[in-house]
Symmetry: C2
Subunit: 337 residues, 2 copies
């Protein structure tokens, strides 16, 4: 397995007794070759376990690598996994392979990963930008592959982007709680506070409050990035002197935290609407009302944009919004006590 040098085209050619170019022709179906030659070449290829060196091929051809680089902040979040699946399904038939790496929500790691992808000459880049990252360097004098920002707009680079309808979705979810009669509605948002999705969803929440003439109370805004911190933040809201009677959870992890906190406190009377769906939402008690995102559609939209750019689309940057959908299941319809 690990041992002698990997075989090259010339090794195969030498083995068969032809020139390297002939082997190349056989492998790439490029130009005429006799059946006899083809047979012998293929036999030698298999016998030697020859694997063409794509780096050499791409270099000579001057063509980009047939891969698309995807940068996400967290591979363990099924939201991004589903996004990746949506991209992959859409680009596979074009012969493109999706390569995914994680930035761990760190601008430095994000940049390192992007440069890794650029140095490997990927055909396109899909990036979920980390908070605090700047992308001006991507738009330098140099010609690079098309870049699409996903889930969040990038900073310092005017290029295509695909996001969910964060603001109107959150507004709709909050309005749903207001319609049930709630006036004190808590918001549990992701961290850091500068996160685009958090800001947009918080803005939607505030817009709904304003529409209903309910004053915004910043004491009702809590934060957490993972499930544990979000649960603690939720308990903090419940412990207020004037606690909320309803909650809007800002994403899937904060939703799990809120659900956990309410369960620990046995507070089935607190209404809850979550941004982003959860696999077990239906069977929670009460069943969880959500503003569902469509991560596979986000991925597919990004892929379509990428393919259009690769096909020569030179129009100005697109900003696509994938709609969210309110799914009432019960937890958002509870009245205030």
């Amino acid at each position: 397995m690990t041992g002698s040098r990997r075989p090259t085209l010339s090794d195969v050619a030498h083995e068969v007794g032809v020139s390297a170019k002939t082997v190349s022709r056989v492998l790439n179906d490029d130009g005429p070759t006799s059946a006899r030659t083809r047979e012998k070449v293929m036999e030698a290829v298999n016998r030697l376990g020859f694997q063409p060196n794509l780096m050499a091929r791409n270099m000579r051809r001057g063509s980009p690598d047939s891969t698309i680089g995807l940068v996400v902040p967290d591979m363990g979040n099924p939201f991004f996994g589903t996004v990746a699946g949506g991209i992959e399904d859409a680009v596979r038939e074009r012969g493109l392979t999706l390569l995914m790496g994680s930035s761990a929500e760190d601008p430095a790691q994000e940049r390192a990963l992007i440069e890794t992808f650029l140095s490997r000459r990927v055909s396109a880049l899909v990036v979920v930008p980390s908070v605090g990252a700047h992308h001006a360097y991507l738009g330098g004098v140099s010609s690079g592959p098309p870049v699409v920002f996903l889930d969040r707009p990038g900073s310092g680079l005017a290029t295509d982007r695909v996001v969910s309808s964060n603001r109107s979705g959150a507004q709709e979810g909050t309005a749903h709680l207001l319609a049930a009669g709630h006036r004190r509605i808590g918001f549990i948002g992701d961290l850091p506070a500068g996160l685009y999705t958090r800001r947009e969803r918080l803005a939607g929440y505030r817009a709904a409050l304003a529409d209903a003439g309910v004053p915004y109370d910043r004491n009702l805004v809590a934060s957490g990035h993972d499930q544990g911190a979000s649960a603690a933040a939720t308990e903090g809201l419940l412990d207020l002197a004037e606690p909320p009677t309803a909650l809007l959870a800002g994403n899937n992890f904060t939703a799990m935290g809120a659900v956990t906190a309410l369960a620990r406190r046995r507070r089935k009377d607190i209404a809850l609407v979550a941004f982003d769906d959860l696999p077990l939402a239906e069977i929670l008690e009460p069943p969880l009302t959500v503003i569902a995102q469509d991560p596979a559609a986000l991925g597919a939209a990004a892929a379509r944009t990428v393919l259009a750019r690769l096909d020569g689309d030179r129009t100005r940057p697109r900003a696509e919004v994938v709609p969210t959908r309110l799914v009432p299941r019960g937890s958002g319809e509870l009245p205030p006590r």
Copy 2:
């Protein structure tokens, strides 16, 4: 952004008025260079937006690409996302980048992805083999990168592997149900039936039954791959003439299906133990008892093995088993009615 040719080393060299080799020296910190030269070179690099072509560098150096290829059957499954995070954390400081792609549990796609990685000369390959895939081709005459199988052993290739303690874990979980007094215990397994983890866990289940002198009844074995199918399969078990009083769910998705089915039927009297933990396990009613896996540890173990091989370890293939842990939370302690 997309336009003129990407700048090369020579472009930079020409711009500064030095040779390509000097620019190379500056960029790679290889050999002496004057401060003045370094300055001018870096300035030109930034101005032109030069990105070194890693394909060319790797080719010339004859070194493999500083990436590790990871092949998983499903990017949307957080289990594999967490595994990937475990690998990444362990290899990052060695300067290796993790590239993940999906086989969609299809041997043909798996092979295509592996060949893609091999053609790009990755430093190592970590593979979660699809059912029905054979890997003899990886062990050919040729020298290739180290390969580690993860979560499941590969077929046709004797190489390193890292798996969970599937059999003993399932045995322990089943024994837990038997200890609570259950004698009719259903098993809901992943599909296809040939899947290694399913077979191992089923074997553990059967071993526990045998230890307790309880006859194995194949009518109590049901199957599903996703949450919906697993829920339907669970309902099928509940509709038997002699239904089970307890269930063992074979993985995270079947667990969510079983939980869903029991909730729909309002059967809080049915005991349940699930293989693999769930984020909301604690707050289900009753709280879900699980045989927890440690996906990050699986990834870390695979990474350690990879690094050892890259460091020249030529000993015979390792078979590492990452232990599972029974976490009693309530659902497995319910007595039979």
